[in-house]
Symmetry: C2
């Protein structure tokens, strides 16, 4: 597609500003975050007013209650939003980390150092509080940022970005480093800029993520599906199995790390299934044939159920022959997100964790722990279900890459080849 | 596209065999490599005979001298090929490396461990000695492998794979883990299998790489272009500048890390350019207007020259105003591969290495050092010019990913949220 001169020039100014940000030291970046937090606090009334206007329009437009819930900024959410900026500020600097330091030969020294990706594009829906979090992560990691929010949150996002600009204006960092895009046409333009944008992070529905993955050559950090399973082995502690099932399904059913399918070993199905059904009466169960023999009043599961992320209080149940069958089912239907086993048998747990192909393989705990904050990353940029790193919950690490720097005093390769070739020392340094 | 049942079943058998290989311990994998090396040695005569047949067909088909050179297996190449298998064997095990070991709370421990990608597809041209190297890397890293070589090397590749199978037959590793594909139609089928294949590594011409990148959703490890630059700053040591220019251009002109464009600071152009032209009379020079004033007898460079990877003894030369202009030119035309500066000014070097956007930024040494073996990786899986890791020369690290393993004793997330929420300890362990 042909890019409009406006968008091209906007992205170029972001890229230019990002180059300068990339050189800012850790203190400058952290100070900018603190100034942004202060400015947000000062403009709280204006931001909440803008949010009120968005909410009014959302009601007029008859948007879903769930969406309005995500759109709404109340006092508590606002405070969490500002605290989030300061949390990112406190994280370790992700830039300039030395991953390799090696003498190749005398006075020829290789370093691998982390550096920013360049320009990151974020496309998100509804939640205006995502703006300040994403901006903080981008500044902390030295990246330029193109933000495209949903039209339903436009007034809130603009008010938040205005406060961010006023915070940045007090620093040496150019405000161009952050750009808020407001029209839908700009999404398509952004997706086409694979030379100018280094990473796209979609935050929203599975449909949004799938659409973006299918329409860009830029790397995408995200996941379209979260079809997670919990397998209850025959040697499970049943009380534990019930508690973990209830938590994995009901603690936050619309989360991507909630389970969609429960797999149960045939030997304990008759004992376990009635108990788990009783423990979560609010969940609509769907069972395979063998499960229906034990729970005759639930709906029958179809092939489609094994492939569905309900994002709701619905759970498919399959009674399986053994550990092997459970692993096969997961490797066939799982989305490589998070998979868990409940068992007292260490050997079965080991086999499960080895053979299940997923970013997270858990033993005797809830799948809901799959999260950047719970893992201790201090922030979550996204969760990736791709096979290549970064996979699983991704913290600031996902916004940086590295460069190899090699310093010499005139070395040439000709001296390291042929008959009287010099040899490399390959000595790792401190 | 619809996949033929034959290819689908072949890939599934590779995937299955790879799952078992992934569980093999380091010793088993290393032993397999040694058995393969022995079998190659024993079948040397048969392999060289098959190569003779390929060479005869290549002559009949009037293939280029360069291609025939790459196709040809002589005694020295054969020995290097077998030594290469043993070199991979000696590398550190890339699997099971613990990257994170963290207590999230009491008895809730997170580990991040490296594991194989799964199934890797390699599409290469001509060089039959690539087969044993790639097979060794795949076995060492626990991955299944689909090999698609060029038709011109088919007899040599089949003979080598036969020896590899006979080596593997003496181990617990199923031969299905390695598959040699022989028809061109299979390439398209492989590229469509984004659910079954985890990484594609193209080894061959820029056209091959570009074709593959444009026709698959599978991650591709490789680079289509290697447009590298050398910038001679005004404070360069001229003798060093000349030696590094000659090496970077002529030591192996068809390599991707050879330079295509030389940038020279205007203040020393009149002194430097005649000397460098004299130092490499075999190189065809093309210059910008200012360069032509100093070297009036060389060809004029056009816009196209700045965008061209010659892979030949041709060098474009541009006289630039200053360091800033050199960096701008590189960031506009470079392929993010390897870029070098020659200067005695540490500050200029620092700015160059910070601002140039490339996998490798070098100071006072030849661009030809950008190579997995020279970096001390012991092997080179490929060189990536993408921004996301892995970038630059990629060793065995490029064939592994990681999994998060979380072990608990029944923990649920509900206890870590709400009013009386437990807090995480997030304590890094040994």
């Amino acid at each position: 597609m042909t890019l409009s001169p406006e968008v091209r020039s906007l992205v170029q100014s972001t890229r230019q500003a990002a180059r300068i940000l990339a050189k800012a030291d850790s203190e400058t970046r952290d100070q900018a975050l603190e100034l942004i937090a202060l400015e947000l606090e000062q403009q709280k009334a204006l931001i909440l007013l803008a949010n009120q206007a968005d909410l009014k329009m959302a009601e007029v437009a008859n948007l879903s209650t769930a969406l309005i819930g995500r759109l709404k900024l109340d006092e508590a959410k606002f405070e969490a939003m500002v605290a989030g900026v300061r949390d990112v500020c406190r994280l370790a600097d992700p830039l300039g980390q030395r991953q390799i330091h090696r003498e190749l030969d005398q006075d020829l020294v290789l370093e691998r150092l982390t550096c920013p990706l360049g320009v990151v594009g974020i496309i998100f829906e509804a939640r205006p509080d995502a703006v300040s979090q994403i901006v903080s992560l981008a500044i902390k990691s030295g990246n330029g940022l193109l933000l495209k929010g949903g039209s339903e949150a436009i007034r809130s996002c603009e008010a938040i970005v205005k406060a961010i600009y006023q915070g940045l204006a007090k620093t040496a960092i150019a405000t161009d480093v952050i750009q808020l895009l407001t029209t839908r046409a700009e999404i398509l333009e952004i997706l086409a800029m694979d030379k100018e944008i280094d990473l796209i992070i979609p935050r929203g529905s599975n449909e949004l993520v799938r659409y973006i993955q299918a329409n860009t050559r830029i790397p995408v950090l995200g996941h379209a599906d979260g079809i997670c399973h919990l397998y209850i082995d025959q040697s499970a502690n049943l009380a534990q199995a019930i508690a973990v099932t209830v938590d994995s399904k009901t603690q936050y059913p619309s989360a991507c790390n909630a389970i969609e399918t429960l797999l149960i070993h045939q030997d304990i199905a008759a004992q376990f299934l009635p108990q788990v059904a009783e423990a979560m009466p609010q969940v609509g169960l769907r069972g395979c044939e063998r499960t229906l023999k034990i729970l005759p009043n639930i709906q029958a599961a179809t092939e489609e159920d094994w492939q569905t992320e309900y994002c709701d209080l619905i759970l498919a149940i399959k009674t399986v022959d053994d550990l092997e069958s459970a692993i096969s089912h997961i490797n066939q239907y799982g989305s490589k997100h998070t998979e868990a086993i409940i068992t007292e048998d260490q050997n079965s747990a080991q086999i499960f964790m080895q053979d299940v192909d997923a970013a997270g393989v858990f033993h005797n705990c809830s799948t809901r722990f799959a999260d950047g904050f719970r893992y201790g990353f201090g922030a979550e940029v996204g969760i990736s279900t791709q096979k290549m790193p970064p996979r699983g919950p991704v913290g600031l690490e996902g916004l940086v890459t590295y460069k190899y720097q090699l310093r010499g005093n005139g070395q040439i390769v000709a001296n390291y080849s042929g008959k009287s070739a010099k040899t490399f020392t390959h000595l790792d340094l401190e």
